[in-house]
């Protein structure tokens, strides 16, 4: 921590209530580091059976027959279910969050490799694993489509026979059988006009590869149907348990009051655990049919191959500018590869998520975004991998294109950003694509980083190295995020507005239990929500219990993803606490026999203004709430808030990265990475630090190594940890962090959310640094991942590895 002595980073012992701003130690860690977490796979129930999937080796094939006899004959096997078995229940297909449908088990056709074809339920997972090999499936291969650019060709194989002729898509007219939607934002004509007359234009194609969040814990569930009470309980690795309850009720017909979804401890989600997967559905069906609990937990290959991927965006960024590099217009085109079913997890109205934040931190007068989504023979998904609904893609395209503009004009990339930033006095700022950025101070953040890293010194050093033929690159990114979905006027999932909730109860002795509609997966909610309540109510956070994830007890909420916990759930928590404090003030006035207006709040008590010693602590008030309250007031001290945010929040940051690339091996050494984040009010600086380190690690993983490529037969490559890059302590660079504080004006405590900024911001920073190492040779862009082999190939193309002398 570079700012350990800062007032904003109060150590625990200096803050008796451990409220907002305190570096309180994480309350979750005690159980995690002792191996006492309670994850889905830890759940064992009497008579529990195990489900395992028969999966397709082909990416596109017709199923000619399925023979279950040998599998059913294996002792210990209870059931083998196929799409035909689910058909009478109408569960062989299920709706996706994006308005499409997805096969639960392949119905006549398989659309991607490793697609679920049948499920085996057996006494234990070993028998189930043996039994899936005994299910005989006869396939007839079909032509495979893996190249999104060929998806809408006249002769492209048609993937979705169930949609043939249905040209009214969920989001727009479809113009081809493999077309999902066209979505646009901004003013096309005005943008085109500016481009026609512009002094300077730049255009850069870039591909953001298909990657996978791959959290430590894979997806899984235990479904338990109680036939006597007709009550269904599902323990599940879900980032949105309440939404799952609604979906399960809608699909099964069981009243929502008789469905209980529990998200226990979750070993990381990063967007992967937002969706509803076939494994969950078949486990629930199997439990209902067999009347016993059924567990399904995917292995790593299944996880990487089938449960939601992220990205896979083919993007073109174009900027029109004047000769001083001032942006006049932005044009972005996207071809989005959604795989075989459109199962993106985005607010319903936004099929490309919040991609239209792609004007970035810049004052862009006019802009246009065009996105076409297409089907290919790949697994469905398109989740926000540690980001807020395509923000990573949006930041990537604008930051890359800004660098290209700077390069074309010969203007330094720090200077071109300085010239185009939205100025501090312009906030709240209306973007050309329809957002209102709440607050920001981009110039201060940039200058702080440039000074801390001696940017000019780095540029001089780079010049010297270039003269010696060495490859050194400096990456710079000044990103703006959009998080905290979102205002219910434009954000919903399956028609449910994206509010969130908190319910706080103060017990007679002044301790607190609070429950939220969000769900922690490593973010430390038990720690930070308590700090918000502690600051609002003056009750020590150690006496505040936080519970989430059990739909029978927690209030309805939309869950945790898109950095929405603090902006939405945290706001609900603060507002609910303020309702309690308002009631407490009435009780205090009653106890002190003064009017409410005569009281002032001081940390943990109400004091009578100007009369020292006349005061009531929150603990005394809590006791009184149950036995000595004003006449007519209902007993108790609790409140609920369902918070509908008036706007998103817009965290931002400036990241700088220095790399040295070995020109003979292509190996990159990240010499320095400096991350300055502004997430508004900082609730727990230690947790922020941890979140930023984690996000930078994942950003490093994506930029430098992660990808899920496909060969022309539709084989997914990179779906094992032999190939899929998960950085360990060995590969991870040293991170330096810094911050500024620009509170959100509309959030009750001014906080903006932070966990995703480092992922969103760091990825283009790495690309910026890598490209910068070659920019003097005319390179404007290199697609990720920037692994040694790919860089070595580029070095060879440029002929830089020839030994001289």
């Amino acid at each position: 921590m570079d700012n350990a002595n800062d007032a904003n980073n109060a150590p625990e012992q200096d803050d008796p209530i451990k409220g907002v701003g305190c570096a309180r130690k994480r309350k979750e860690d005690a159980r995690f580091i002792q191996g006492k977490g309670n994850y889905v796979d830890d759940i064992k129930m009497p008579g529990m059976l195990f489900a395992d999937m028969v999966r397709s080796p082909y990416a596109h094939a017709r199923i000619k027959s399925i023979n279950k006899e040998k599998a059913l004959a294996l002792p210990g096997v209870h059931a083998v279910l196929t799409a035909d078995d689910l058909k009478p229940l109408n569960l062989h297909w299920m709706p996706t969050l994006a308005g499409d449908v997805q096969a639960v088990l392949a119905d006549e056709k398989v659309h991607f490799q490793y697609q679920e074809v049948a499920v085996v339920v057996a006494d234990n997972r070993y028998i189930a694993a043996d039994a899936i090999e005994l299910v005989e499936v006869e396939y007839e291969e079909l032509p495979v489509l893996v190249d999104a650019h060929k998806a809408m060709d006249d002769d492209a194989p048609i993937l979705r026979e169930d949609l043939v002729g249905k040209m009214d898509g969920a989001h727009s007219k479809r113009v081809h059988d493999n077309h999902i939607f066209n979505w646009q934002a901004g003013d096309k004509d005005a943008t085109d006009r500016v481009f026609e007359q512009a002094e300077v234009t730049v255009k850069q194609d870039m591909y953001y590869p298909r990657v996978h969040p791959s959290p430590l814990e894979t997806c899984g569930c235990v479904a338990s149907f109680d036939k006597v009470n007709e009550h269904l309980t599902v323990y599940i690795t879900s980032q949105a348990p309440h939404v799952v309850r609604t979906v399960v009720s809608m699909l099964s017909g069981i009243p929502e009051s008789k469905v209980r979804i529990v998200s226990p401890d979750i070993g990381g989600g990063f967007g992967n655990k937002v969706g509803v997967y076939p494994g969950y559905v078949v486990s629930i069906v199997a439990s209902i049919v067999l009347g016993v609990p059924v567990k399904w937990v995917e292995n790593r290959m299944e996880h990487l191959s089938t449960t939601a991927f992220a990205r896979d965006y083919h993007m073109t960024g174009e900027i029109a500018a004047d000769s001083d590099g001032r942006i006049k217009a932005l044009r972005v085109n996207v071809l989005a590869d959604h795989g075989a079913f459109d199962a993106c997890a985005d607010p319903s109205k936004f099929p490309a998520g919040l991609m239209h934040i792609c004007t970035g931190s810049y004052d862009v007068p006019v802009a246009h975004l065009n996105v076409d989504g297409v089907y290919t023979n790949k697994a469905p998904g398109g989740v926000a991998y540690r980001c807020s609904f395509r923000v990573t893609e949006a930041v990537y395209v604008i930051e890359r294109t800004m660098d290209v503009l700077a390069q074309k004009l010969g203007i330094d990339k720090a200077e071109i950003r300085r010239r185009n930033f939205i100025k501090a006095e312009q906030f709240p700022y209306q973007t050309a694509l329809g957002w209102e950025i709440d607050s920001g101070d981009y110039h201060t953040a940039l200058e702080k980083v440039l000074e801390a890293c001696d940017y000019e010194g780095l540029r001089r050093e780079q010049q010297e190295k270039r003269e010696k033929g060495e490859l050194m690159g400096i990456g710079l990114v000044t990103f703006t995020e959009i998080v905290g979905a979102g205002p219910t006027r434009n954000c919903d999932i399956l028609g449910v507005g994206m509010f969130d909730s908190a319910e706080i109860r103060v017990h007679p002795t002044g301790s607190v239990i609070a429950r939220m509609g969000t769900i922690t997966q490593g973010q430390g909610h038990q720690t930070t929500y308590a700090q918000i309540i502690a600051s609002e109510l003056g009750i020590p956070s150690d006496e505040i219990s936080i519970e989430e994830g059990d739909t029978d007890t927690a209030p309805y909420g939309l869950g945790t993803y898109g950095s929405r916990s603090t902006p939405v759930g945290g706001a609900a928590t603060a507002v609910a606490a303020r309702k309690i404090r308002a009631k407490a003030q009435k009780i205090a006035a009653h106890l002190l026999e003064v009017s409410e207006q005569d009281l002032e709040w001081d940390v943990d008590r109400f004091k009578v203004k100007g009369v020292p010693g006349q005061e009531k602590t929150m603990k005394e008030i809590a006791w009184a709430a149950y036995n000595d309250r004003p006449e007519g007031m209902e007993p108790g001290l609790e409140a609920v808030d369902y918070y509908d945010p008036p706007n998103f929040t817009y965290p931002f940051g400036t990241y700088l990265c220095v790399v040295d690339i070995d020109k003979y091996t292509g190996v990159t050494k990240v010499r320095r990475f400096y991350a300055l984040d502004d997430c508004g009010t900082r609730i727990n600086p230690m947790i922020i630090e941890g979140q930023i380190h984690g996000g930078l690690n994942e950003g490093f993983a994506v930029a430098m190594g992660q990808e899920l490529p496909f060969d022309e037969q539709g084989n997914i490559l990179g779906n094992t940890l032999m190939d899929y890059f998960i950085p360990t302590f060995v590969e991870t660079p040293k991170w330096e962090t810094d911050y500024t504080v620009t509170p959100s004006p509309h959030h009750p405590i001014g906080a903006k959310g932070v966990a995703e900024s480092p992922h969103v911001g760091s990825i283009p920073t790495f690309t910026s640094a890598i490209v910068d190492a070659f920019s003097h040779l005319g390179t404007t862009h290199l697609d990720m991942p920037h692994n040694a082999f790919r860089l070595w190939q580029h070095i060879r193309e440029l002929g830089l590895d020839k030994r001289t002398g």
Partner: protein, 196 residues
């Protein structure tokens, strides 16, 4: 996952011996380590299986083999094999064109051009080694083929030795030996030496 391979093997004896042998599909298949014809449907259509053991994993591919384009003039034929492993997790296909070219009275050449395609787990887990593994399989195939042709004479001593070697032929793909030859082959290639 698709690889193209071209191979040629020098064989003893006149070309007609090799061509005669090449048309005996069941015997040719037996030259492939771990492969056998399980059913001859007619002269052109067969059912067969290939068993491969690599490390802890055993894969048994069951499939169909079709013989096409038999051209006695050019002494060439085409074999198309396609199969799925018995566990349903992988599939493999091979499209092989083989021909015999006369060199002189006592030797000839077998030329093969194969396109191999694998899908599923075999591609996910074994894809990066596919070229090398296929190369080793084909080398073994070439050795067996050569012994079979040599056994047809006319050199009696060589025929006897070839028959003995054939008797010792491993019945399935041996993963450990295979892995070793892949590794040595890779190193040989790396240092520009002659392939093992």
């Amino acid at each position: 996952m698709k690889v193209n391979m071209e191979k040629s093997f020098t064989l003893p004896g006149p070309a007609i011996n090799a061509w005669t042998f090449l048309q005996q599909i069941e015997k040719v298949a037996a030259c492939m380590p771990g492969a056998e014809i399980t059913e001859a449907i007619d002269e052109r259509n067969y059912k067969g299986k290939v068993k491969a053991k690599i490390g802890p994993a055993t894969m048994a591919f069951n499939g169909d083999i079709v013989v096409e384009d038999i051209d006695p003039e050019a002494m060439s034929l085409r074999l198309i094999g396609k199969g799925q492993d018995s566990k349903g997790t992988s599939s493999a296909a091979m499209d092989l064109t083989a021909r015999v070219i006369a060199v002189d009275e006592s030797s000839c050449e077998l030329q093969g051009n194969a396109e191999m395609t694998v899908t599923g787990k075999a591609a996910s887990l074994g894809g990066r080694m596919l070229t090398q593994v296929a190369d080793q399989i084909l080398n073994q195939f070439g050795k067996n083929f050569e012994n079979n042709v040599a056994a047809m004479g006319p050199d009696e001593a060589a025929a006897q030795q070839a028959k003995e070697e054939l008797a010792q032929q491993p019945k399935e793909l041996n993963g450990l030996a295979l892995a070793w030859s892949v590794i040595t082959g890779w190193f040989a290639g790396l240092f520009g030496g002659k392939k093992a």
